[in-house]
Symmetry: C2
Subunit: 319 residues, 2 copies
């Protein structure tokens, strides 16, 4: 359960003294924060605590995470002349703290660790908009107007992400998830033409490592028919579409991950149980990794998450 | 083109001296702001300048529009005990300035005026979240946990919106558009069970007035198959899905409105022209109202909008 930490008092205490980027940069703290939800909730895998801007920061790009706002870049990327800021990442030199965190984690964890990175489109949105955006209009305007600069940017980001995630696997991560949080603002033809090649390049470049490759796009129902041929082993699905329908739309034999609405964790236990069972039923038992359709909401009661983990573990297909 | 005013220097000058709610409340100013894009762009219809919180403000609910943030409610609605704040609206007494604006406008306009209101789900989101929200989790938690309170709230909002939009038509509006900006966070089963009855109640209640009823849901591709039976005459489509596919999914003979991505207005003229022609072609010529798939972006050059209006007017089906 991604971002489960946000709901835990032990994480909030750490947040009082440390910024998010501080927590990411200090292996002891990042290890502790990654372990907190695993200890408390009994989940079947851990997901690395980090932030999607970390590899960009590793390239020397100036970025701050402003509380209540999100990542803010001092000098947004605005066109052709700025693209060469995205150079190849040397993970051991540029983000040693991430790899050190992973190496610490794998000695302590009894469950597999999932590494992660933002996907190229979503990182491009942050770089180009420079801060939060509802419409990602500058990003799309560049994509529409200057396809060659756009493609150069996407492939540079793809190479960076590939180096970043390969290094995570080398350090001990046992699966890689790519998060494409903003991909839902792109139409299908544009995804095919302007985004898919970069995502496929990363997934293809991870193939020889033999770890599950998970791709998650938020609000991406319109794009599912393009996701089956991305080269992912698992497609993450948000809560907007039932898993059996998602499978049909994807149209290949990749597994699905999801897709309980995080807001159900704020509802009554009866509602939560019924909806979780519905997800399990429509997931079909095999080729389905149960999780939430998006990150845990900060106001979630951790006891509810523990209950949910038990429910999933106890499910025997007739709930 | 909704929110076209935001891109105009004459609107920005007015905004220097007046808040948005000020502009809404003063008929001379609201009239002027509604007329500005019509004068400059040569569009075929005007859309009333107002804000979706106006009828709620008319009920005496305390709300402010904070620049850069959006509507903020001093005392969010949190459960059963708060629902009776949504009483029936007496438009002539509660929001006389809206009706006065419409009456002024219809004496000055040579094109039809489209009245509008927020739809029940989106207004509920604002009331319950109290401010901007990415996940609308409190709203969904209420919907999931307490369906009877939720249904009471939705039907109260529907009655309020019906009174509000009927009064707009009586004052001279020649079409009504309902905006459901946040409906894209709801799954299809929940839309059918918890939202559709209220929207259908409004659309049905407008039927005898014999004006086109337009319903627009942002990021609502997953819900289109439910929209065909809402009772709308026109379904607004954002840019995420081509109009011919949208029509198929809607599956009835309602007209469609849309759906050029507003970000294309920031791209080169060649890209804009090609994409606008693609929208016209996939719209199919009849049963299609051309507009943008969402509001005009503030950074849009007004000359580009004028060019776009000309392009649409000159289109002869072979572009």
């Amino acid at each position: 359960m991604r971002q489960a930490g946000r709901s835990l008092p032990e994480y909030r205490r750490l947040k009082e003294d440390h910024s998010i980027l501080d927590l990411c940069r200090k292996p002891d703290l990042a290890t502790e924060v990654t372990l907190q939800p695993v200890r408390r909730l009994g989940v079947d895998a851990a997901i690395l605590f980090s932030d999607i801007v970390v590899p960009l920061m590793g390239l020397g790009i100036e970025v701050d995470i402003v509380p209540g706002v999100g990542p803010v870049f001092a000098d947004p990327l605005r066109g052709k002349g700025d693209v060469d800021r995205i150079r190849q990442l040397d993970a051991e030199a540029d983000v040693p703290f991430v790899l050190e965190t992973i190496r610490q984690l794998v000695t302590e964890l009894e469950v597999p660790l999932i590494g992660f990175s933002g996907a190229p489109f979503t990182l491009a949105c942050y770089l180009i908009e420079g801060g939060p955006s509802k419409d990602h209009a500058r990003t799309k305007a560049l994509m529409y107007s200057d396809p060659s600069t756009w493609s150069d940017l996407m492939m540079r980001l793809a190479e960076m992400i590939l180096a970043y995630t390969r290094a995570q696997v080398a350090a001990g991560a046992r699966a890689i998830q790519l998060f494409d949080s903003w991909i839902g603002v792109v139409g299908r033809d544009d995804f095919e033409a302007h985004v898919k090649p970069a995502v496929a390049h990363i997934l293809d470049g991870l193939q020889d490592l033999d770890v599950p490759r998970i791709y998650f796009g938020l609000a991406a129902g319109e794009l599912l028919s393009s996701f089956g041929s991305l080269g992912a082993d698992v497609i993450g699905i948000d809560w907007r579409i039932p898993l059996d329908e998602a499978r049909e739309r994807i149209g290949s034999d990749v597994a699905v991950q999801g897709n309980l609405d995080p807001a159900t964790c704020l509802a009554s236990t009866a509602v939560l149980d019924a909806r979780a069972q519905e997800v399990l039923r429509r997931g079909g038992g095999t080729g389905h990794v149960f999780n939430l359709g998006h990150g845990v909401l900060p106001q979630t009661d951790p006891a509810v998450l523990s209950h949910l983990v038990e429910l999933v573990h106890d499910w025997n297909g007739d709930g």
